[in-house]
């Protein structure tokens, strides 16, 4: 156990840094640039039962210190992920990967998780009940405690792997939803997914994004992430994976002080493909600066 290592639901991570789903593909674009085995793990592209193209373009809008995306869960479907993406990933990543799963009905989530449960490369199932970019699924489960609990219970029935429920910040009471997931058997909570946002082009006088609204991410949302991680970590007894606008080793430490056991990095990967590697390399320096010996010591340290 090195000074950067943490335990996430019974699996040791060499460090707490996890590229977030949707910003890291299935890993190999980044493996061309650096050895991705330096990561704690990564959360692969949100996977659904059936293949999806996603939303029409434009899917991207820029904001001050952030961006909006409305990709809409483009992915090849769970069969191709298992048949093609995971074998490719095996050649460049020898750690357990976090499988990110989305759905449009409780049965979809259970089906996809059951298929991925049999894959030994998969360490954790991160169940996304919070995607703002798809109609009739995703976030509607994550904005209601009973629905979130129902998905959690259905997934827990079909897997022995740790189940981490990824929550939306677009709710009035994040604590009640996190607690409902914990009560339904969740092994961890991850948050925050993107904030629902929108931009309008002054020249065309129309929304920039074809889907009109999308998920706002990037450094602008970091304070919201700190607040929600703090609220949830103080209310549940399962690990919390923090994310939302993280772009530096200092941000990682701040989210861990708020209660995160591990930290996902999202939009930063899209601006600087080396962001996660650089954050990992910089962590010991920043820990020394703030008198931190082992990073696991600071989890939830801010009271």
């Amino acid at each position: 156990m090195g000074r950067l290592s943490v335990d996430l639901c019974g699996i040791t991570l060499d460090n707490p840094i996890i590229p977030a789903s949707g910003t890291f593909g299935f890993g190999y674009e980044f493996a061309e640039l650096y050895d991705i085995n330096v990561l704690g793990t990564f959360s692969f592209k949100g996977t659904t039962k059936d293949p999806r193209f996603g939303n029409p373009t434009p899917r991207i809008a820029e904001c001050n210190a952030g961006m909006i995306n409305a990709v809409g869960l483009q992915n090849p479907g769970v069969e191709k992920v298992i048949g093609e993406e995971l074998p490719k990933l095996k050649k460049c990543f020898n750690k357990k990967v976090m499988a990110n799963v989305s759905g449009f009905a409780v049965e979809d989530y259970a089906y996809t998780c059951e298929r991925l449960d049999k894959e030994e490369q998969v360490g954790w199932l991160e169940v996304n009940v919070s995607c703002p970019n798809v109609h009739g699924g995703g976030m509607s489960f994550g904005t209601n405690p009973e629905a979130a609990a129902e998905v959690t219970a259905a997934v827990k029935k079909v897997t022995t792997k740790p189940v981490i429920i990824k929550l939306s910040p677009n709710v009035t009471d994040i604590v009640s939803i996190a607690k409902a997931c914990e009560d339904a058997g969740a092994d961890g909570i991850s948050l925050i997914n993107t904030l629902l946002g929108m931009r309008i082009d002054l020249k065309t006088k129309k929304p920039v994004i074809a889907n009109k609204m999308g998920g706002f991410s990037g450094s602008a949302i970091f304070p919201v992430a700190v607040r929600m991680v703090y609220q949830v970590a103080n209310a549940v007894n399962i690990p919390v994976v923090g994310m939302g606008g993280v772009s530096s080793a200092e941000d990682v430490i701040e989210l861990m002080l708020a209660g995160a056991t591990a930290v996902e990095v999202g939009a930063a990967n899209l601006i600087d493909p080396y962001a996660c590697r650089d954050i990992i390399n910089d962590l010991p320096r920043v820990m020394d600066k703030y008198g931190i010996n082992n990073i696991s010591d600071i989890i939830g340290g801010a009271k």
């Binding site: 890291f24 592209k45 434009p58 961006m67 483009q74 899209l270 600087d272």
Partner: protein
């Protein structure tokens, strides 16, 4: 793909809104004409993708049009300024398919990537015809650069103030060619899709997130499946294109 620091060695205004920037740095990842670079700019969250006009002996040439905050900032930059640039992005044009008499058709700010393509095709011993389309005489740039390569250049202006009056499709009529390459605004690409009589390659634009294939922000549907404009494109072959509407 490579992330590295480039230094501006020239930033010249070519027309009212078009600038040429030359930068020195590591261009080793730029392997095909039609690729692009993605530039980090102060105070802007997303990088700005700009097509490569030329790349040779450690000098990267970009020709860009001022259309928004990013390019406005670039237009103000002076010699010596350093920029964080991702290079070697996109597939680029494939010259193997050109035949011996290809035509290159550029519209407006779609012209620059055709320069490096023309240079490569000329070096391969092909007889290169170039059609450049602009709205009006004052917007013309690069005509002499293509001529200096030894290409046969035709300019079309929509208002007839220079060269052929009309669109690039008017200039193309009656021309014999073995293959075509094009880059420009989508209405022009669609018109060429209909009027060209051979196979060819189209370079597309889309709003991008990362520019290197990670975010799925710029996906499109093609005959051969879903493609990312930034990674599997920006160049698509005529036979695989599915227009969105």
């Amino acid at each position: 793909m490579k992330q590295s620091i480039f230094k501006i060695i020239e930033n010249t205004q070519l027309t009212a809104t078009v600038f040429r920037m030359k930068l020195s740095g590591d261009v080793s990842e730029i392997t095909s004409p039609g690729q692009f670079v993605n530039i980090k700019l102060d105070g802007l969250f997303l990088r700005r993708p700009i097509s490569v006009c030329d790349s040779e002996n450690g000098v990267l040439t970009l020709i860009y049009k001022v259309v928004g905050k990013g390019t406005e900032q670039m237009a103000q930059m002076t010699e010596g300024k350093e920029l964080d640039v991702l290079t070697g992005l996109g597939n680029g044009y494939n010259t193997d398919l050109s035949g011996d008499k290809p035509v290159l058709i550029g519209g407006g700010v779609g012209v620059p990537p055709l320069y490096m393509l023309a240079k490569k095709l000329v070096a391969e011993g092909k007889k290169v015809n170039v059609i450049l389309g602009f709205n009006t005489k004052d917007e013309i740039f690069c005509e002499d650069d293509f001529k200096a390569l030894g290409a046969n250049v035709t300019v079309a202006t929509a208002d007839g103030s220079y060269g052929v009056k009309g669109f690039v499709t008017d200039a193309l009529q009656g021309m014999e060619y073995s293959y075509f390459y094009t880059c420009g605004p989508e209405p022009m690409l669609k018109a060429l899709y209909k009027s060209t009589v051979t196979s060819g390659q189209f370079s597309f634009e889309e709003r991008m997130g990362c520019g290197f294939g990670a975010c799925m922000g710029c996906s499109c549907k093609t005959i051969t499946g879903y493609k990312r404009i930034c990674k599997d494109g920006p160049v698509l072959e005529k036979e695989e294109i599915l227009w969105a509407d």
